[in-house]
């Protein structure tokens, strides 16, 4: 069962969905850049981007009424966007074996 988005929440739905992806990319970018250059300052930016991503996810969950079983999805998104860049980084280092 779904509860459709209310008319007033259209804009916030599109905006927050787009922001999740954009902040997700920014987080991944800063994370990798920080690792590559060994600069902890960039990691602070990465964390900030992830925080913004989490905020956007919360907004999207509210606007699209992700209640009940849909909450699992919210949790998976939060964990997925956090962990996937770390995993890809590990794979980059691991597969390039030097």
């Amino acid at each position: 069962m779904i509860e459709p988005v209310a008319l007033n929440d259209f804009f916030i739905t599109f905006m927050s969905a787009a922001l999740i992806i954009l902040f997700g990319a920014a987080y991944a970018g800063f994370y990798a850049w920080s690792k590559l250059r060994g600069k902890p300052k960039l990691m602070a930016w990465a964390i900030l981007c992830y925080a913004a991503l989490a905020g956007a996810t919360f907004l999207l969950a509210q606007a699209t009424h992700l209640n009940g079983e849909w909450r699992i999805l919210v949790g998976l998104m939060l964990v997925g966007y956090l962990m996937a860049p770390m995993g890809i980084w590990k794979l980059c280092v691991g597969s390039h074996d030097d």
Partner: protein, 493 residues
């Protein structure tokens, strides 16, 4: 007349006589034929898209002669076919180098090319001149199947499958004769899936729910699964040549990509099964996989940053490299941002079947597929000229390729934003406020936002066509007077 007909095959083949180029191997000569037709169809895609765009502004334009339905059908069909021509050509291009031997049945491959091209020409002529038929099986067999993207009549479907089998035979038999690799293994299996899926669109059903269920198998599992992997193979081979990347690393990442693409893409099919009469458990499956589909896309940013740090973008072919970067961005924006904005059923209820989908379609197809084909065309033309220099400091500062990539990207992005505004307005007024009746539909179509968006879309369409004109000019001239040999790269790791 009979003399004309008996001379026809000679005339047709003489059109492609220019592909006899001493710098190319057999597969590459055949690939050049495919690339040539691909560019012609790319141009057709844009021109018929322009006609359809103009009809949104002046509905009387060509009314009764070339109606919107015909223009739109040729617009989308030309796109599907030119992308496929580009993919097939790219595979033929690297087949001999990758397998280390000559193509097993090059003669069949050449015949297949002519059969396919003649079939495509006939289908388009029937679309243009006959257009529609009576409500009988004969119409579906010989005129128009009337199912979006795969309108080609059934006789042509069978022809396409035969040509795909020839192509598949050439790929599998050549690798079997020469040597297998990770890239060729993935490629061969992917082609089996790609051809097999097409048959899911080759039968008639009155039950429209089942009809659309299978229709999405073809459309989604091509575009969001098997095409992605096919492009992954082409990309893997290109990166080894363009950046001198090591095979073992490239192949590891190809497997990672296959796992991520198929893992999220196959059941991502669920987001097309929300509203066609299928059970509502597809809400959960579609919503779940759609929310997770962008994660690999986003995580791959890490890989791009890593590669940029390691390789510093030193490439043997700058235009091709620039188009691959355009691919990365386009795929991310088109599939990632534009896809996710409207994919959850809670909002898709209002955006499904509006200009939202058109907006998403324009940026996603261009970003994910057109870009990669164009990148490959540049790799091909470099070899064509005798493997000449194509890195920085080109003779005329490379203004043509730089302007064409700028105009094409600007044009497509502009159309996408215009359609997004139209789609937003349509979802809001027609769907949410007025409940999707015909009156609601027309109210939304006449709203100033919508009308202006259609004008902007057409203007940006013209920019896109300008970009394509420059691209064609550049592909015909780049490297012509170049004497320096291509940059040689070896992986320094």
């Amino acid at each position: 007349m009979s003399a004309f007909i008996s001379n026809l095959p000679g005339k047709v083949t003489s059109l492609f006589a220019f592909t006899e180029n001493p710098h190319l191997n057999g597969g590459q000569k055949l690939a050049s034929k495919y690339f040539t037709v691909a560019m012609v169809l790319f141009l057709a895609q844009l021109l018929f898209g322009l006609l359809a765009a103009i009809q949104f502004i002046w509905p009387g334009f060509l009314f009764g002669w070339l109606d919107f339905s015909v223009n739109r059908m040729i617009h989308t069909n030309a796109m599907v076919v030119w992308l496929l021509y580009g993919f097939i050509g790219s595979v033929y291009w690297f087949l001999e180098e990758e397998s280390g031997t000559e193509i097993a049945g090059l003669k069949f491959g050449v015949i297949g090319f002519y059969v396919l091209t003649i079939a495509v020409t006939l289908v388009v002529l029937v679309y243009l001149l006959i257009q529609t038929g009576p409500g009988k099986d004969a119409s579906i067999w010989f005129i128009n199947e009337g199912r979006e993207y795969i309108e080609a009549p059934r006789w042509a479907d069978i022809g396409i499958v035969v040509v795909m089998l020839i192509f598949f035979y050439n790929v599998a038999a050549t690798f079997a004769k020469g040597r297998w690799s990770g890239v060729s293994g993935v490629l061969t299996l992917d082609l089996v899936a790609l051809a097999g899926l097409y048959t899911a669109g080759m039968f008639y059903l009155t039950n429209i729910t089942a009809d659309q269920y299978w229709w999405w198998w073809v459309i989604h599992l091509w575009v969001e699964a098997t095409w992605e992997v096919l492009v992954g193979c082409i990309m893997a081979w290109s990166l080894m040549h363009l950046l001198g990347a090591r095979r073992k690393i490239v192949q590891t990442w190809l497997y990672i990509e296959v796992a991520l693409m198929f893992g999220s893409g196959i059941l991502g099919l669920g987001h097309h099964y929300f509203w066609i009469g299928t059970p509502d458990y597809w809400f959960s499956i579609g919503g779940f996989f759609s929310a997770l589909e962008p994660i690999p896309l986003v995580a791959m940013v890490v890989h791009s940053v890593y590669d940029a740090g390691v390789h510093k973008f030193k490439a043997t072919n700058h235009p091709a490299m620039a188009w691959i970067i355009a691919h990365t961005f386009g795929n991310f924006i088109g599939a990632g941002v534009w896809g996710f904005m409207q994919t959850l059923p809670q909002i898709n209820l209002y955006t499904h079947g509006t200009q939202w989908s058109a907006s998403h379609g324009h940026i996603a197809f261009f970003g994910a597929y057109a870009t990669i084909n164009i990148a490959f065309f540049y790799l091909a033309v470099q070899k064509w000229r005798g493997n000449v220099w194509m890195s920085g400091d080109l003779s005329d500062n490379g203004w043509k390729w730089k302007w064409s990539i700028a105009l094409l990207n600007l044009g497509v992005l502009g159309m996408t934003v215009a359609l997004l505004i139209a789609g937003y307005e349509q979802a809001f007024i027609e769907r949410a406020m007025q409940g999707s009746t015909w009156n609601a539909y027309f109210a939304a179509q006449s709203h100033p936002w919508f009308r202006e968006a259609m004008v902007w879309r057409t203007l940006f369409g013209l920019v896109t066509i300008g970009g394509l004109g420059l691209l064609i000019w550049d592909l015909l001239t780049i490297g012509k007077d170049e004497k320096r040999p291509a940059l040689v790269l070896t992986d320094r790791e």
